[in-house]
Subunit: 150 residues, 2 copies
Amino acid sequence: MAVESDLHQMLREVALRVTRPRVAVLHAVHSHPHADTDTIIRATRRALPDVSHQAVYDVLRALTDARLLRRIQPAGSVARYEARVGDNHHHVVCRSCGAIEDVDCAVGEAPCLHPSERHGFSVDEAEVVYWGVCPTCSAATPDPATVRKG
Amino acid sequence: MAVESDLHQMLREVALRVTRPRVAVLHAVHSHPHADTDTIIRATRRALPDVSHQAVYDVLRALTDARLLRRIQPAGSVARYEARVGDNHHHVVCRSCGAIEDVDCAVGEAPCLHPSERHGFSVDEAEVVYWGVCPTCSAATPDPATVRKG
DNA sequence: ACGGAAAACTTGACTGATTCCAGAACGGGG
DNA sequence: CCCCGTTCTGGAATCAGTCAAGTTTTCCGT
């Protein structure tokens, strides 16, 4: 994972001041892909025990605005963050436990950017979420497809 | 839009009792595609002035579980509901005002259901959200790229 | 290094959407 | 028409996220 000097460099490149909370949060997100805010706060506090939750929220917003992080929020989930930015990738989400994995774009660099009917919208991004069940959860419940009420 | 007897029929078909709040909520969602909960509550109260917000929440959940409604929740938005279910369609969402429009699947009946790498997940649905700016907002703000999302 | 302006952080209360709870009211099969 | 189980009510709780005011830190020029 990125070392501290790399993180400093990343912050400077987007004209953000290098502060301890920012470095700690950035490191935490790099170490915990797809983590939710609470997880990030706890991970950040292992390096910097007294950061306020407000500081973490502020930093996450600043880093997201600066495109160092990407915010993802599948339906029914709280906000999650990932450090992989600038490429075009999507996510598989487990309906059972909420686990998220990255999925490279299947079609090319700008895959589904062409809806059949765009209603006059100027579309700049196509976000794809694959819903399913992760291996762990499908092992726990024999055959999810056949699990019916009753 | 669907008449009341149709709504009764729909409820009976999924083994749900026909109650005034259910009929009123179902009618409200049919009349207001992609409406958020608050809008649905107000629309429901035009037909049934004394329903509680709790009743509306409960009904929305029951109807969603019964697949009469579909819940959608683009990142950063509150829950919204639509009555169009059972087909495979996606949405365009305006980054500026949150407006949502339906988009038919561009590729076929099960379009993007094939991620390049599924990490062992059993995928059953691909949800696509096209992000952009609606005609109204792009007319109102000359350069949408400079508009910060609040 | 040093000072100070500007940016960032801390604290603590608050908002708003949604859910939980316990008891009252109601729908509809028999 | 009656009764049981389902649904509705109203209030309180929860939880992520936000606001505001005051203090601390960073970093630029000297």
